[in-house]
Symmetry: C2
Subunit: 222 residues, 2 copies
């Protein structure tokens, strides 16, 4: 589902964020990326999903070489197939919680959008916040809306950057159990997390340190 | 250091975020506020520090009744005495990491501002990011800058809202150990956290649920 081949990333101000990354995520995997703060997880996930471009190397997304695709082509290619949960959420501030979920799904022509949204929001314990706008939500509630917005699309690949940082362990495990059951139904997951306690959910764990990948251990718990 | 007396909070759209809160934090305590996402932790901390106002009840901050103080009076009263680490950081986007720490300290007339900043940033492992602006930092790096900005002020009271959500456990423990050593030197701490593993650092833990306080258990580990 994702292939990074000798990927390096140097930001505009000269910072080397990734060095010689080789990573292959097969369809149906539930891969975890772990590593200290600043090790390059967000950078890796952004490049994997085409949100950012590598300085060197190649990127394949769902078997398509996206390394040199234009923004427009990328957006078109990803639509409905790849969904993101960003570390900083990027919710639509002028839209309600419900609209944040339904608008994108409607644009993509999915069916029964409102029922789906309500169902997802109920699971995420947000049914009592449907009409709030993002600035009227707690930190963890905003994070859950970001998760819901990705889930409702039923993508082929879900890329999530620290999706439970503002939630306690019990809530985090609930989210990861949902991810796992969706994974069993065929959705591929690539997830960065700081939380060691969530590692058992992964089918495979990859460690980042100073922009380099360390290992490719089979996850515990499958 | 903080007294909340029968504090309730109803937001503009009618949401009851806090109900009848009674809380007293004495000088020198290291109090933890725990509770699920949406239970009211940020609201409580904001009201405790005068960043927001209660709908009912009274608030005392460092023995001063601040319930009806004006913005200007509050800002003047808090300066240098109360420092915040916000859940959403609120860093100064046009300033570098170093400037985010030094500017406020200079305005307050503290001495040796630059050396202090460098020392704090070294402890927070940010020495290699001094000239980055916030948007050029990882999530956890931004969080650490927010922590550094509060620490450099050497306040009497430090209020921190989930200061380690974007850091792994080891880094979180390092931050809390620093907090504890500062607490032993006299700084009062009021900290909201989701991370159960950090609870042993607190001298006392208070639980929030649906806007109400549940208990006042002495912390384990002191
Ligand atoms: N500006 C607002 N307007 C309306 N409701 C709000 C507003 N801010 C917060 N709320 C609601 O008040 C409740 C408490 O919010 P608060 O941010 O204090 O929770 P929290 O315990 O800090 O949650 P988290 O752990 O997710 O950060 C939430 O359910 C939230 O939806
Ligand atoms: N726009 C940018 N310009 C310059 N450097 C950047 C930029 N964005 C990130 N960096 C740097 O690149 C490194 C990797 O960043 P990245 O956000 O990928 O880390 P991360 O592993 O996601 O960290 P965290 O766990 O804190 O979220 C960091 O040290 C950061 O300072
Ligand atoms: Mg990150
Ligand atoms: Mg909060």
């Amino acid at each position: 589902a994702v292939e990074l081949e000798e990927v390096s990333k140097i930001y505009d101000n000269g910072t080397h964020a990734l060095r010689g990354i080789n990573l292959r995520v097969k369809e149906g995997e539930f891969v975890g990326i772990v590593g200290p703060s600043g090790s390059g997880k967000s950078t890796l996930l952004h490049i994997a999903g085409g949100i950012d471009r590598p300085s060197e190397g190649r990127v394949k997304l769902l078997s398509m070489d996206i390394t040199h695709m234009s923004e427009a082509q990328l957006t078109e290619f990803r639509k409905g197939k790849v969904a993101f949960v960003f570390q900083f959420y990027y919710l639509m501030e002028d839209f309600t919680v419900l609209e944040n979920l339904t608008s994108l799904a409607e644009v993509l022509g999915l069916g029964d959008v409102k029922e789906r949204a309500l169902k997802v929001l109920e699971f995420l314990r947000l049914s009592h916040r449907l009409n709030h706008k993002p600035h009227q939500l707690s930190g963890g509630e905003q994070q859950r809306v970001a998760i819901g917005r990705a889930l409702i699309l039923e993508p082929r690949l879900l890329i999530a950057d620290e999706p439970t940082g503002n939630l306690d362990l019990e809530e985090g495990k609930k989210i990861f159990s949902l991810f796992r059951s969706l994974n069993e139904r065929g959705i591929t997951f690539l997830v960065a997390t700081h939380n060691q306690e969530l590692i058992p959910f992964f089918s495979r764990v990859v460690k980042l340190k100073d922009g380099r990948l360390e290992g490719d251990t089979a996850g515990v718990g499958f």
